[in-house]
């Protein structure tokens, strides 16, 4: 099991649960990397569930580890994409065609779940009705509050903005619309005094 218990935090920080089948005419499951494990577990709980399900899977660093198992679930549609960016057009297309009663299940890293959730919200599903389950890496998707650039898969605090190069500390304040945590300049009041980066949750 690739699960991690996040420490308690502020109200804007997302809290993840455990995926469970819900009644619905159609189901959309989007996962990356170890998120496949949550989909495999979910599929076993609802007889007939996968026959009404579209699975979108991005293996990320896990290569072929889960692909055959997911394919064996015999979902109505199964797609593997090389990256989230390559898959997002398909996700938008699926959501634009969907009807009320669609159930959305997200699993894997915070970055994947956050971005897919933002798409589902924009399509008209309230976030409280979208299920999420964290699996795998605890890396964060960070927005630099200064230049607005997004840095993917941040593992340390502080870190360097991939766009403007400022040294940013990692806040727990999270924007669902941007699918990102907030990064704020760490040495604004004492330029050059940047603390030694530490691995998140270490």
């Amino acid at each position: 099991m690739s699960t991690f218990q996040f420490p308690p935090s502020i109200r804007s920080r997302p809290v993840y649960g455990t995926l469970a089948p819900r009644p619905g005419k159609a189901h959309l499951m989007i996962a990356d990397a170890e998120g496949a494990e949550a989909i495999l577990s979910l599929a076993g709980q609802g007889p007939g569930l996968m026959a009404k399900t579209h699975v979108i899977y991005i293996p990320k660093g896990t290569g072929e580890t889960y692909v055959d198992q997911l394919r064996a679930l015999k979902s109505a549609q199964f797609y593997t994409g090389p990256t989230y960016a390559a898959s997002v057009q398909r996700i938008r297309r699926v959501l634009s065609d969907a009807h009320m009663g669609l159930q959305v299940y997200l699993a894997g890293t915070e970055g994947l779940m956050g971005q897919a959730e933002a798409e589902a919200i924009a399509a008209g599903i309230p976030h409280s009705a979208i299920q999420t389950e964290h699996r795998g890496s605890v890396a964060r998707r960070m927005q630099c509050v200064h230049c607005k650039g997004i840095t993917e898969d941040v593992m340390t605090d502080p870190f360097t903005c991939a766009h403007c190069g400022l040294n940013l500390f990692v806040r727990d304040h999270y924007s669902r619309r941007l699918a990102a945590f907030q990064g704020v300049c760490v040495d604004a009041e004492d330029p050059g005094n940047v603390p030694e980066p530490r691995e998140l949750y270490s």
Binding site: R22, G24, H99, M100, G101, G124, I125, P126
Partner: protein, 328 residues
């Protein structure tokens, strides 16, 4: 801060009005139209809002909430439709029997406990009987703004279907009229099926209808946030009881045909309120001491609040027992 503290009067701000028209709609329903006594335009309102109508019935002040059904973009007129309830507490009978064109009355500023969700891709309205009134304002509003909507409207028969002829004539493709006496029923499962993502459903009608829509939508995988309802509870009569109000330091008697809130007002206690129907939470009152059973009838308090015996909503809820002391 207390720069210039001013005590708020209970309830919403008031507007003095003149009854400009009394129009029978059918055997049970009458429409009342109002203009402002001072000749100024009415404040704009958002569709779904209600107003509390103050009725001077002999020595007694009645305060009943009614949905505003007029076009929100018309600042000259506010209109409500009142269904006569022969078994009720008398407010609707007073309106039907006593209120005449030219009468002076007082309305509260609009208060909205049933707003449109403006993010909606489409609005689906489900009305039962007199529950049509808030949707009349919503439809007028969406027609101005070009919003997508449809209406499913159930009434007993064509004669008692208030405004059903107007609606079907004006919007033949958007209004679906259903008459119970013709053995028809709203095909709820069909209409929930196939709605685009981002559709919101609104229901106003009898309690059973509201529950049916919520339950069916949930079973069809609709998020709770996409289903909206409004049900005004008229305070139901009950056995008289006695209450001690400790801040006001008086003991009052609540009669069979008045609510606890009305009894407080009758005795000169300025208690907060907005909807007078158990929905807005404004009149929530702490119970200091109680020996007896609460008859909670509101939609506001959580179940554990009801069970705790520490809170009561005086606009609709009652009490049976020996002692009740409230922090008011």
């Amino acid at each position: 801060m207390s720069a210039a503290p001013q005590k708020a009067r209970a309830g919403a701000e008031r507007i003095d009005v003149t009854v400009s028209a009394v129009v029978p709609v059918n055997d049970l329903v009458t429409r009342f139209e109002f203009t402002r006594a001072d000749g100024r335009p009415f404040p704009p309102f958002s569709p779904g809002a209600h107003t509390v109508v103050e009725m001077q019935d002999g020595g007694r002040t009645r305060l009943n909430p009614y949905s505003l059904m007029s076009d929100p973009s018309d600042p000259t007129t506010y209109a409500i439709s009142v269904r006569r309830d022969d078994a009720g507490r008398g407010g609707s009978l007073f309106m039907h029997r006593n209120v005449k064109p030219g009468d002076a009355m007082t309305l509260s500023y609009p208060v909205n406990l049933f707003p449109l969700d403006r993010r909606a891709r489409k609005h689906v309205f489900i009305a039962g009987g007199i529950g049509i009134t808030p949707f009349l304002a919503m439809i007028a509003h969406l027609e101005h703004l070009g919003g997508a909507w449809e209406l499913h409207y159930a009434s007993r028969n064509r004669a008692l279907g208030s405004y059903v002829e107007d609606l079907t004539a004006k919007y033949p493709h958007k209004v679906h009229a259903i008459f119970d006496e013709d053995g028809e029923a709203i095909a709820l499962e069909d209409l929930l099926d196939g709605q685009p993502l981002g559709t919101h459903v609104y229901v106003c009608g009898p309690a059973g209808m509201i529950k049916w829509v919520h339950d069916t939508a949930t079973a069809h995988g609709w998020p709770a946030e996409n289903v909206h309802s409004e049900e005004f509870l008229a305070p139901q009569p009950g056995k008289p009881f006695e209450v001690r109000l400790c801040k006001s330091d008086i003991v009052i008697q609540v009669g069979e045909n008045e609510s606890l809130l009305e009894a407080m007002e009758r005795c000169g206690v300025d208690a907060p309120f907005l909807c007078r129907g158990g929905a807005c939470g404004q009149c929530e009152t702490e119970v200091v001491e109680a020996d007896g059973t609460f008859d909670h009838r509101d939609h506001w308090l959580e179940e554990d609040d009801h069970a705790s015996g520490k809170k009561i909503m005086p606009c609709v809820s009652r009490f049976i027992g020996e002692t009740l002391v409230l922090d008011r």
